[in-house]
């Protein structure tokens, strides 16, 4: 998949990964994510009960931990980006691909732990398809409404800098959706437990195949419309 990504998008994805690994706040965000990830695996190994839904919430939490502040991570460089020959469409596509890749990597890391329980593996695979098919688009769209700067060198702990109403909504909707899925799955009889993940996975797949371009254009338009607001909000970075 990576081999088919054009060099401009690869360049943008690598750039975004460097933002994460070389700056304090996004790096801390990733660290929190990994701690949570390890905790769920330990829980799974020690308790051994059905926790695929917790796994689902865990791997989708990348969207509320990192995705909600997309664009704001680059507050400091926003003037620079807009003055260079970088197409906004490529930036949007790069961010969506990055979120999808992170989600897939963390899903693949969970697979060995679920190998002996095919039902969980199937459910989690379907929910991952839903994750990568829906959330990258909705989260990058919601993030395109953000105009609050984020200072990358600050620590993450108790730091809500950059969160606006919509980005907070973007963050918590992922958890809320996870809880809804848990409740529905608990209610339905055991023989139908794959129905909910199946429907969601199909929706995700259809969204990628049919509406990917629509979302990217919609986000691009929104960014162009809100360009000056965002530039002004992200400026004065000390």
């Amino acid at each position: 998949m990576i081999c088919n990504i054009p060099s401009i998008l690869k360049n943008l994805i690598v750039y975004e990964l460097k933002i994460i690994f070389r700056n304090r706040r996004p790096r801390n965000t990733l660290l929190f994510y990994i701690i949570g990830y390890v905790a769920v695996i330990l829980l799974y190994l020690t308790r051994g009960y059905q926790i695929f839904l917790y796994n689902y919430i865990l791997i989708s939490s990348v969207y509320f931990m990192y995705g909600a502040l997309m664009f704001a991570w680059e507050s400091k460089y926003y003037d620079s980006i807009y003055s260079k020959n970088i197409k906004i469409k490529d930036i949007v596509t790069g961010k969506i691909l990055l979120l999808q890749l992170i989600n897939m990597v963390f899903f693949l890391l969970l697979v060995p732990f679920l190998w002996l329980e095919p039902a969980q593996l199937v459910s989690l695979t379907l929910l991952t398809v839903y994750n990568i098919g829906i959330y990258p688009y909705t989260d990058v769209l919601l993030a395109s409404y953000n105009k609050k700067k984020v200072r990358l060198y600050r620590c993450r702990t108790f730091n809500l800098e950059g969160y606006a109403f919509l980005s907070a909504f973007g963050a918590y909707k992922t958890i809320a959706m996870g809880i809804v899925i848990i409740v529905i799955t608990e209610i339905v009889p055991s023989s139908f437990k794959l129905i909910v993940p199946g429907i969601l996975g199909t929706a995700g797949l259809f969204n990628i195949l049919l509406f990917s371009k629509f979302w990217i254009t919609r986000i691009e338009d929104n960014l162009n419309k809100r360009k000056y607001l965002m530039l002004e909000g992200f400026r004065h970075y000390d």
């Binding site: 360049n11 750039y15 460097k18 003055s83 000056y228």
Partner: protein, 238 residues
């Protein structure tokens, strides 16, 4: 190269930037001078479409600056935030080059021009992230990043301000090379009257958001501008 018409940008409560009409000729070097807060950077921001004007039209090579096509042939460096400080110098230059279809070999070849301007080890040895470079070296790297794409239009904001005397002289020679050999159009804002008077064909003096003086440079330009700013200085007033 640049055409400005009825341009107004107001910053409440007390600053109004106003240019009824202005043309910057192709293949010429135009200097913008003026005291702090006169509106020099505002003008450059407006040209680069980083600030929304209240009214007016700006065209770059007959392309409205609201479109993006002009970015393919424009190199600019306004301030430190134009640099991605979490990257190494060569990483940054390579990152930019991708968007202008400049291959790695070509990039290395073009960097030869700046051999005396910046320490080659600083670029090629990847010792320090941009954020840890000295102010002068950041300025140099920013200027190189604007020039490396061999742009038709070069926009620089106070490029001499953080440079040592030797580097200032080298920069003037580099800018003359771009103007004469590559036929680039240069628009430079600076307080360095001496260097501007020597490399620019035209001086535009901005004061309180308005063009106060617009004339071709001559043998007396430097001393006349010097006298003008000396007279403005309260310290020298009797």
């Amino acid at each position: 190269m640049i055409r400005i018409e009825n341009l107004i940008k107001e910053y409440k409560p007390d600053f109004k930037f106003e240019i009824p009409g202005l043309k910057i000729n192709k293949e010429a070097c135009t200097a913008i001078v003026g005291n702090n807060g006169a509106g020099k950077t505002t003008l450059l921001n407006l040209i680069l479409d980083l600030v929304e004007p209240d009214t007016g039209i700006i065209e770059i090579n007959s392309i409205n600056n609201k479109k993006t096509e002009w970015k393919a042939f424009t190199g600019s460096y306004l301030d430190e935030n134009f640099l991605f400080d979490f990257l190494y110098p060569l990483e940054y230059l390579k990152f930019i080059s991708v968007f202008y279809n400049i291959g790695n070999d070509e990039l290395i070849k073009r960097l030869e021009l700046f051999r005396n301007f910046i320490e080659p080890d600083l670029i090629f040895k990847n010792k320090k992230l941009i954020g840890y470079l000295s102010e002068g070296n950041k300025e140099k790297l920013g200027i190189i990043s604007a020039l490396i794409i061999n742009p038709l239009l070069i926009i620089l904001d106070e490029p001499y301000s953080r440079l040592d005397p030797t580097s200032r002289t080298i920069l003037s020679k580099i800018l003359i090379y771009y103007k004469v050999a590559l036929k680039s159009t240069l628009l430079i804002s600076s307080h360095d009257l001496y260097n501007l008077a020597h490399i620019c064909d035209r001086i535009i003096l901005v004061e309180d958001g308005k063009v106060k003086l617009d004339e071709l440079t001559s043998a007396t330009t430097f001393s006349r501008l010097n006298n003008y700013f000396r007279e403005k200085s309260c310290f020298n007033k009797r």
